[in-house]
């Protein structure tokens, strides 16, 4: 019982940290061609995420691996039911990763334009589709003893798309703040301005999302049962407001941490509401995939807990250290003089 709950929390943490870290990579990737007015500025945006995006993406791999190890039935059904959506995410992530690494290795307008498009789509599509996927998980999937009764298009319902839009906006604001944080001069100014403007749209969508969640999902049931949990969405709203306050004062680091907190608490608003389900069934609660009926044996959960307790803090330690190594702003001179690192 206790190990099921530990892994449910860890499951939420892995996704939340993934969205928090990869979120600004996605945001920067989406904004790359729009905020970057010339090759130098584009280079600065790519350099802002260059050293860290790969390590950030591993949180996704680990979230997937942990779901497999701790909740194999959920892993199996979620991945096979959402086959086409995951395939799109996969292709997008492939193109994104390759775009970051290969863009500077060739010449010519077509080559660069092609990878710019790949970087945009490779950042935008996963942001949208992860939102759509989680929106649908919050609502529940049409599944019963016979399996899944839906297609890719079943997922593109109003609430799913709304959640997708929420994710995209969260990541765009997050990414714009990161760009502002990591750059100087004109790009820095435009990025903070952009974050401040899009923030209003994000706020509007977030409010609609919180209200619509009441009607589209069962998430709030847990909250009304134990009112203390409302602290999570309340923090989400407060930190969302804090983004604007800090960004307005030009305190971008504080704005960035507020934006991190927003993403984590938005994720956990869903996670708390889901408990004890991992994927509810929209047909009949009898077919809900819960942390109890879809989990590994207690023995496996114990082994994996030991592994996580030893290694996750180590990972967090060296990842924080590399962020510190690359804490300085990316300068235009760095991009033009150094050119390719290799």
């Amino acid at each position: 019982m206790i190990f099921h709950i530990i892994w449910f929390i860890l499951w939420g943490v892995l996704w939340a940290v993934f969205f928090m870290l990869e979120g600004f990579d996605f945001g920067a990737g989406i904004l790359h061609s729009f905020l970057g007015r010339n090759e130098t500025e584009k280079g600065m945006i790519r350099r802002a995420i260059g050293p860290v995006w790969d390590g950030n993406e591993v949180w996704l791999i680990t979230a997937g691996g942990a779901t497999f190890a701790a909740f194999p039935t959920t892993y199996a059904l979620m991945f096979s039911y959402l086959y086409s959506a995951l395939l799109l995410i996969l292709f997008a992530l492939i193109f994104r990763g390759v775009a970051v690494e290969f863009r500077q290795k060739g010449q010519g307008a077509v080559w660069k334009k092609g990878w710019d498009t790949a970087l945009f789509l490779g950042s935008f599509l996963p942001a949208l589709l992860f939102g759509v996927a989680f929106g649908n998980i919050f609502q529940g999937l049409p599944m019963d003893a016979e399996g899944y009764h839906g297609t890719l298009f079943t997922l593109l319902n109003t609430y799913g798309l709304l959640t997708g839009l929420l994710f995209v906006l969260l990541f765009i604001v997050h990414g714009a703040i990161w760009i502002a944080l990591k750059t100087e001069g004109d790009l820095n100014r435009r990025a903070s301005q952009f974050a401040g403007t899009v923030w209003f749209l994000l706020l509007a969508i977030a409010v609609v999302f919180l209200i619509y969640t009441k009607f589209a999902t069962n998430l709030y049931a847990n909250y009304f049962e134990n009112i203390i949990w409302f602290i999570v969405p309340v923090i989400a709203v407060l930190s969302l407001l804090a983004i604007k306050v800090f960004a307005g004062k030009g305190q971008m680091l504080k704005a960035f941490f507020s934006s991190c907190l927003t993403i984590v608490t938005v994720t956990f608003t869903g996670v708390v509401g889901l408990y004890p389900n991992l994927i509810p069934s929209s047909i009949d609660p009898a077919y809900n995939l819960t942390i109890f009926n879809s989990s590994s044996s207690v023995y496996t959960l114990k082994i994996m807990t030991v592994v996580a307790l030893i290694f996750v803090p180590v990972v967090i330690g060296y990842q924080i250290w590399t962020y510190k190594v690359f804490r300085h702003k990316v300068t235009a001179a760095e991009i033009t003089e150094e050119g390719e690192t290799y």
């Binding site: 050293p51 997937g64 497999f68 992530l93 492939i94 990763g97 290795k105 496996t300 996750v312």
Partner: protein
């Protein structure tokens, strides 16, 4: 084709494609780390140029290894949901450990290495590529322990309608997995050695930057000689594990039809699958097969006829892929030995024929790795987990043939495109050769001992 056949084909295609990049990463990370260590120790700028040149090729290759790896983890759930449900309790653990222990380390420090030239000290920079090399090899260990469990399931009981882990250490110390790990990573080192020797040979033939490439060749030849000898030895040990765990694979790889004690090894043999015998059988070495398979000349070797037809793997591909792998393995020992001798006698520049052979041999270790995997995976059929779960029972129930057809078409297209880009970039930078003068920023800071 149905969803099962298409899913099998898709897994084969995506795994084979992933394994184009993995072996080079395994070996070249070590070579580049060694080059940079030499640079830190000696301050000889030649080693810095080597680190940069081979490091750039390493990075191009590494990027594709990473992105094609995500596919593999997703696919277990997407296409093989029944498998994942049935064995996830024990099979999921090594995958999750691989991500936690190895992928984070690898991906975090590759970023540091790539962008950290003037941000950390020379020593820390060299350590970061060593961490990448260690992480890459650690990741191979955990994924091969996972695969080793599919080949020889251990440490589980059948309970609650699935395989549940009862002994983590049995899985983590599975001799099948460990012997496979050593054999596989060492074969990756051979790939890297031939990659470096092949490109070096190209430049030595053209007399461009000869010193640089002779030194690269020398390093790779020693590395390759030790590795190809070790691949052979670990292959022999692994074969004993295979023989113990999977009698059907052993019988198929040797085209051995009749159960026999003290079975001979035929140097020339060809299977006649229809009539369940061999159409050619010549030059038998008495007790050879028993000796090879079990390290015991009198051991009994089960023949294919003793197994029901629906539990035998397809004989011909298993038989051929094993022979091709073994033959290439011997060729690698010969070529690396020759390279090592010629280099020691400083005869490389005067052996254009040998250099050409080395250039055109560059793809062979890749090919050997591919047929090695075909042998290992096709040889396990019809089982997905040997003796426990059949491949036909493992496929997702919710996916349709149309869906998998579309995804397979997508993978073929996307991977085809990536392959073209990869080959283009590798060829471009391999041909270009090392930069003659290093970027001023990098030079000054690293010469000054780094620092922030």
């Amino acid at each position: 084709m149905d969803a099962l056949a298409l899913s099998r084909l898709q897994f084969a295609v995506t795994a084979a494609f992933h394994f184009i990049f993995v072996p080079l990463t395994l070996g070249l990370s070590i070579l580049v780390a060694y080059m940079e260590t030499r640079y830190v120790r000696t301050n000889d700028e030649m080693y810095l140029r080597m680190t940069k040149f081979w490091g750039r090729l390493f990075l191009i290759n590494f990027a594709l290894g990473v992105v094609t790896g995500i596919t593999m983890e997703f696919q277990f759930g997407m296409n093989w949901a029944e498998y994942s449900k049935y064995v996830g309790d024990i099979f999921g653990a090594p995958l999750a450990i691989e991500a936690t222990v190895a992928f984070f380390l690898e991906s975090t420090f590759i970023g540091l290495w790539l962008f950290g030239w003037n941000k950390v000290t020379k020593k820390v920079h060299a350590i970061s590529i060593w961490l990448v090399a260690i992480a890459t090899n650690l990741s191979a260990l955990w994924i091969l322990l996972a695969n080793g469990w599919m080949q020889k399931p251990v440490g589980y009981v059948l309970r609650n309608g699935r395989a549940e882990m009862v002994d983590f250490m049995a899985m983590a110390t599975n001799p099948y997995g460990w012997s496979k790990f050593f054999h596989t990573v060492l074969s990756g080192y051979v790939v890297a050695a031939f990659f470096v020797m092949g490109i070096a040979a190209y430049h030595i033939l053209r007399k461009s930057d000869t010193d640089f490439f002779k030194r690269s060749f020398k390093m790779a030849a020693s590395f390759g000689l030790i590795s190809s000898l070790s691949v052979f030895i670990t292959g022999d040990f692994h074969a004993v594990e295979v023989s113990k765990a999977q009698p059907t694979k052993l019988a198929a790889m040797e085209s051995h039809w009749e159960t026999q004690e003290g079975a001979p090894y035929y140097l020339i043999v060809f299977p006649d699958v229809q009539n369940e015998k061999n159409s050619i059988e010549m030059l038998g070495i008495p007790k050879g097969l028993s000796l090879l398979a079990f390290h015991n000349g009198n051991a009994e070797v089960k023949g294919l006829r003793d197994f029901p037809k629906d539990e035998r793997p397809p004989v011909l591909p298993v038989f051929l892929s094993f022979r091709a792998m073994a033959a290439m393995g011997m060729l690698f020992m010969l070529l690396t030995f020759l390279g090592w001798i010629l280099e020691r006698k400083d005869r490389l520049e005067h052996s254009p024929m040998f250099l050409k052979i080395m250039l055109y041999s560059l793809p062979l270790p890749y090919l050997a790795g591919q047929v090695g995997w075909i042998f290992a995976e096709v040889g396990r059929q019809p089982w997905i987990v040997y003796g426990l779960l059949k491949t036909s029972d493992a496929v997702s129930k919710s996916i349709t043939a149309g869906q998998v057809f579309m995804s397979l078409a997508g993978f073929t297209l996307v991977y085809g495109l990536l392959a073209l880009v990869d080959i283009y970039l590798l060829a471009k930078y391999a041909r270009k050769g090392p930069d003659s003068n290093l970027s001023p920023i990098i030079k000054t800071t690293t010469m000054a001992g780094g620092g922030r």
